[in-house]
Symmetry: C2
Subunit: 302 residues, 2 copies
DNA sequence: CGATGTTCATATATTTATGTATAGCGATGC
DNA sequence: GCATCGCTATACATAAATATATGAACATCG
């Protein structure tokens, strides 16, 4: 550890970790395989530890390398955040905004909101991370997050949107064959779609409706999105956001009056970004769009 | 923003920000002024914004550059953390550990503890950040922190040490001239040493002893350390850790029975570091050393 | 079992980045 | 008011990092 290694070595290191080979990393970075190889050699030399076991079909990371991966990942996200901030004009709505949202929200709800936003601001680029793994606002992995739980940290600008209503739904085709249950008890004989993991959301459901606990599920998935598409495919009865089902005439909201789960929704961003026009504008558009969405959930179908 | 700039540019950028000139940054990094200048040029080109206003006596950062500084700082701390982790042997107690503690603890209490630790492990390097600004354990600005408030975040390995007792102290010389107060009320006529900023610690003191609020202070400082040295210099009566005063025969603990503030103390480190022998060993040594210190605080003087 | 497509390692050529030397500018001090 | 000292900017020579080309090892597939 004589002299600090080039920070570019860390980038090469991370890329090799992710790609699994020097060649693939080289393609990714627009460099060549010997170059990446030399970077890894130099880094190993600098830290005095072996980082990869070379083989003729790739590089296998050592334990040391795996220990270092989180740091390298953070370097990458920070560098990306820096670049994002830098290359956006200060007083114009331009540049890239990274948004994080759950799969369902990100895929089914946000696109039209983002489309409107980009109509208004053609220079605005949006990166959407639609995943249920929550990304860190403090470290700026994302600029803005739509969350289903209230963000606790200070230094965040948080806006509560309200509750997205969830309810039992099924495809018209399914109901024509199996009948439409009118009470929770009648659900017992039906093909039910369930979740295969315990999430906060499921625990809440059990709390609200203890009966749900005893139901037998014939299809389970950990993905809320797959859950929704399973309903749409007529597999059985499941729970989804009423606002998703409403525009689709084939989807029927079951026991609309007896059963509803409210899904609290927040939009959050780092306070320091509120002076950034592109973030400010996107934040506001998300708030407005999601408020409209919740409003539309509660309208009775035309 | 065609191609991602070299990460080394960020390092040069940060160093210029910190040093205020290309030449100074070059000296810092072991490069030359034209090289750093080219890095800045290239970075400005890449992000499409002016980062510095050049003048013949240095570089003045633009607002854009100042916005980017926190990101660059984080890159630097992360790179340092990576290197620290990498260059320590996995199964040996070697390499560098970064510790954060308050000024008083870091300067007056920890050194003997660290001395013992390094006697036991000669290969262990310690970096001590003795500052009342709290550094982030999550982002590994430091590996281990001694805190006066309970760390809240998950993913931290936290050990409560107990309460460090604080009390009124004065130099024997002062008391010989001005007399020794026996009650809180008698403090009124004395030269008192106070704090010039509101801290959680002071608010707590007020809560415990409302009288303290009405006292007139003749010397104020925001630094706890300066507060302590002011007592030692005989400026007047002030509050400090009883354990600091006890070994010094010239310092007298006043109203030992009437007045005591307990200062809760915790040692914390990131959970992922508990597999690192050097961190583990240092953590344990700090816990042990601080427990001894608290014990010594409570012993009556020989 | 040989052909093909991977991979990494090595030697050589080329490009790129860096260092050196110097000039110009502005502030400070005698 | 001139000398000095710091800084940046530029031109040029050099050193360093890179790409290219190739060979050897291993897996996959017909």
């Amino acid at each position: 550890m004589n002299i600090e290694p080039s920070w570019d070595f860390y980038r090469s290191f991370l890329t090799v970790l992710r790609q699994g080979s020097l060649s693939a990393a080289a393609r990714e970075l627009g460099l060549t395989q010997p170059t990446i190889g030399r970077h890894i050699d130099a880094l190993e030399e600098a830290v005095g530890a072996e980082l990869f076991i070379r083989s003729s079909n790739g590089l296998l990371p050592t334990d040391v390398a795996l220990d270092l991966q989180p740091y390298a990942e953070m370097l990458a996200t920070t560098a990306a955040a820096l670049l994002r901030t830098a290359s956006s004009q200060r007083d114009k709505v331009e540049g890239t905004v990274r948004i994080s949202a759950s799969e369902v929200i990100g895929i089914e709800v946000l696109p039209p909101i983002i489309a409107d936003l980009q109509d208004a601001y053609p220079g605005l680029q949006v990166e959407l991370s639609a995943s249920d793994a929550l990304e860190d606002l403090m470290n700026r992995e994302v600029d803005i997050a739509v969350r289903m739980a209230e963000p606790q940290q200070d230094a965040l600008l948080v806006r509560r949107i309200g509750d997205i209503p969830l309810g039992f739904h099924a495809h018209r085709r399914y109901l024509e064959r199996h009948g439409t249950p009118q009470t929770m008890a009648e659900l017992a004989g039906h093909r039910l779609i369930g979740f295969d993991r315990q999430t906060a959301y499921i625990r809440m459901m059990r709390k609200l409706h203890p009966l749900a606990d005893e139901l037998a599920y014939s299809f389970r998935t950990s993905s809320h999105l797959a859950h929704y598409t399973a309903i749409r495919a007529g597999i059985g009865i499941g729970i989804c956001q009423t606002g998703l089902a409403r525009p689709n005439p084939d989807l029927v909201h079951i026991m609309a009056d007896e059963f509803e789960i409210p899904l609290g929704t927040w939009v959050a961003m780092h306070e320091s970004l509120k002076t950034s026009p592109r973030c400010r504008v996107t934040f506001d558009a998300l708030v407005r769009g999601l408020l409209n969405y919740i409003k539309s959930c509660k309208e009775t179908r035309a």
